[in-house]
C-alpha cells in the first residue's frame, strides 16, 4: 500500500502536473445525474419551502402573499415556543445519555472476548430495527396495568411508574427509548476511533506503571475526543429531528406534553393543512439545527 502510494507520487512528480488534474473537469459528468436528483428532491424542496413560508398557503387552494407574517406569528405562538423548549430538553438528555453509554460500550467492545461478534450484533439491533415496530412494542411494555415494565418494577419492590401516561414522566421515558435505540450508533463511531488509535502512548503508559483508569483518562479519552464529538453532533441532530418514536408512542401527548417541534410541524402541515405556517416552522427549525451543530463544530475546532 505505502509502496503504491510512493509509486504514484513519483509518477506524478515525473509527469509534472498530477495526471488527475487533466481529467478533473470530466469527472463532474459522473456526478451530474445524481446532482440532478439531489436538485429535484432536496434543493428544490428547500427553495420551495422558503417560497411557501411567506405565503398564507392552505391545502384547500387559497394562496396569498403575506410577507413575514408567518414568522412573526411563530414568535408569539405559545404552542410553538413550548415545543422549542421541549425539543431542547429532550435533545439535551437524548444526546448526553447515548454518548456516555456509547463510549463505555465502545471501550468494552474494543476488548477481545468470546462471542464478541454476536454480542456486538445484538447490541446494534435496536438501531437497525424498524422504529415504528419497536415503538409499538415499547407502547405495550409501558402499559400501566398489564405492561411488563411495571411488573418488573413491582416485583423488585419499586412502585410502578407512569411512563408515557403522565406529563412529567413522558419526556424522560422517550429519552430512555431514544437512548436504547441510538447508543449503538455512538458506540460504532467511537469503536472506529478506538481501532485507529496509535499504540505508542499505551506502551509508554505501561512502562510508566499507569493503571487502567489513568490510561483511559489521560490517553484514550483525549485521543478519542474528535470521534466522541462527531458522534455527539450526529446524535444531537438526530435527537432534534426525532419523530417516529414520539409520534407512535405518544403522538405528542398526554395533552401536548411531549409535542416537539417536529410533531407540531407534522400537525400543522398535515393535520391542519396550514402549509405556509408549517413551512415557516420548517425554516426556523432548520436554522436552529444548523446553528446548534455549528456551535458544536466550533467547539471542536477551538480545542
Amino acid at each position: 500500500m505505502s509502496a503504491s502510494v510512493a509509486a504514484s507520487a513519483s509518477a506524478r512528480a515525473e509527469g509534472g502536473k498530477p495526471r488527475g488534474a487533466n481529467y478533473a473537469r470530466h469527472y463532474w459528468a459522473f456526478a451530474a445525474p445524481a446532482a440532478a436528483v439531489v436538485g429535484a428532491v432536496i434543493v428544490f424542496p428547500w427553495l420551495f419551502t422558503l417560497f411557501m413560508s411567506v405565503h398564507d398557503w392552505k391545502v384547500t387552494g387559497t394562496v396569498s402573499y403575506v410577507g413575514l407574517a408567518n414568522y412573526t406569528h411563530l414568535f408569539t405562538d405559545d404552542r410553538f415556543q413550548w415545543a422549542v423548549l421541549r425539543t431542547l430538553y429532550f435533545t439535551l438528555f437524548a444526546t448526553l445519555a447515548p454518548v456516555v453509554l456509547g463510549v463505555i460500550a465502545a471501550v468494552c467492545f474494543a476488548q477481545k472476548f468470546p462471542l464478541r461478534g454476536l454480542a456486538r450484533t445484538i447490541f446494534i439491533l435496536p438501531m437497525m430495527a424498524t422504529p415504528v415496530a419497536v415503538s409499538l412494542v415499547w407502547t405495550m411494555m409501558f402499559h400501566p396495568q398489564l405492561g411488563v415494565l411495571n411488573y418488573i418494577l413491582t416485583s423488585i419492590g419499586l412502585p410502578p411508574a407512569t411512563w408515557v401516561y403522565q406529563a412529567n414522566t413522558v419526556i424522560p421515558t422517550l429519552v430512555m427509548v431514544e437512548t436504547w435505540q441510538w447508543t449503538p450508533l455512538v458506540m460504532l463511531i467511537v469503536l472506529g476511533g478506538l481501532a485507529s488509535l496509535p499504540t505508542d502512548p499505551y506502551e509508554a503508559a505501561v512502562l510508566d506503571g499507569a493503571n487502567p483508569w489513568q490510561t483511559f483518562r489521560h490517553i484514550t479519552l483525549p485521543l478519542l475526543w474528535p470521534f466522541i464529538l462527531v458522534a455527539a453532533v450526529l446524535r444531537l441532530i438526530d435527537a432534534l429531528k426525532a419523530f417516529d418514536t414520539i409520534y407512535v408512542i405518544t403522538g405528542g401527548g398526554p395533552g401536548t406534553s411531549s409535542e416537539t417541534i417536529n410533531i407540531l410541524l407534522y400537525q400543522t402541515a398535515f393535520a391542519y393543512y396550514d402549509l405556509g405556517y408549517g413551512s415557516a416552522m420548517v425554516v426556523v427549525f432548520f436554522v436552529l439545527i444548523l446553528l446548534i451543530s455549528m456551535i458544536l463544530l466550533r467547539v471542536r475546532t477551538s480545542r
Partner: protein, 293 residues
Amino acid sequence: MSGAAAGARMQAAEGRARRYRMRRLAGRIGFGFAVLMLISPALLFFLWTLSLAFKNEVDNMAFPPVFIPSPPTLSNFIDVFEKNDFLTYTINSVIVSFGATGLALLFGVPAGYGIAKSKATKAAVLILIARVTPGLSFLVPLFLIFQWLGLVGTLTPLVITHLVITVPIVVWVMIGFFEGLPNELEEAALVDGATIWQAFRHVALPLARPGITVAMILSFIFSWNNFIFGVVLAGRETRTLPVAVYNVLTFEQVSWGPLAAAALVVTAPVLLLTLLMQKEIVAGLTAGGVKGG
C-alpha cells in the same frame, strides 16, 4: 536451611500467582457482567417481542405476565395477514425499497466516483446538509407537487421521496470507498487509451463491489424503516409496512398478539439482514455515521 528458604519463596510465589489468577478471574467475571448489562436491554426487548407474538391472547393479557409461550401459536401471524392485507403492504415495501435503492445505486455510485476523483469536498458538504435536514421539511413541498401531478395514492411518489434517504447514503459510502482505492490501475488503463468512462466501468467498478454491497444494504434498511414519507404520501392501497403496522395500532381494537406479530413481520427482514451482514453494516456505519430520515 537454604532448601527451606527456597521452598518458602516458591510457596510465596505460588501464592502471588494464585492471587493474580484470582484477580484476573474476578476481572473477567466483572467484564462479562458489564457486557451482559450492555446487551441485555436489546436482548430482553427482542425476546419479549417474540414472546408477545407467539402467545395466545389470554396469556398476553395475563398478570403477572406469562414469559414463555406454551404452546407457541402462529395464530397472531395468520391474523395479521388475513385481516390486514399485509401481503399487499409487504409487496409495496419491497417495490419502494428496492426501487429507491436501485435508483440510488444507479445515480450514486458514479457520483461517489466523480466526487472522490475530483476531490470536490463542497459536493460532500451538500450531502451532509441533506443528512441534517429533517425529513418533514422535504415533505411539505413534495406533497404539494405530487398532488398537482395527481400522483398521490400511487407508489411513484414514495420511490421518489425515498431517494432523499438512499442517494445521500450511497454517495457518502461510495466517496469513502473510492477514495480508499489505489489509483494505479485506472491510470494504467488511461495510459493504454481507455476513456475515463471505460476506466470507471471496467477497472474501478469491479474493485468497488464490497463498497457497493455496504451502500446497498444500508440504503435498503433505512428505506425499509422509513415511516414519515409513507404516512404522508401513501394512500390506502399504497401503504408501506411501517405505515400499515402503525394503522394496526390506531384502527383495530388493540390486541397485543397481532400487534407484536405485525411489528415482527415488519422488522424481521432488517434484523435478519443485520445478523447475516453485520461486518458490512458495521463497516459502513462506522465510516460515515450514516442514518436515514
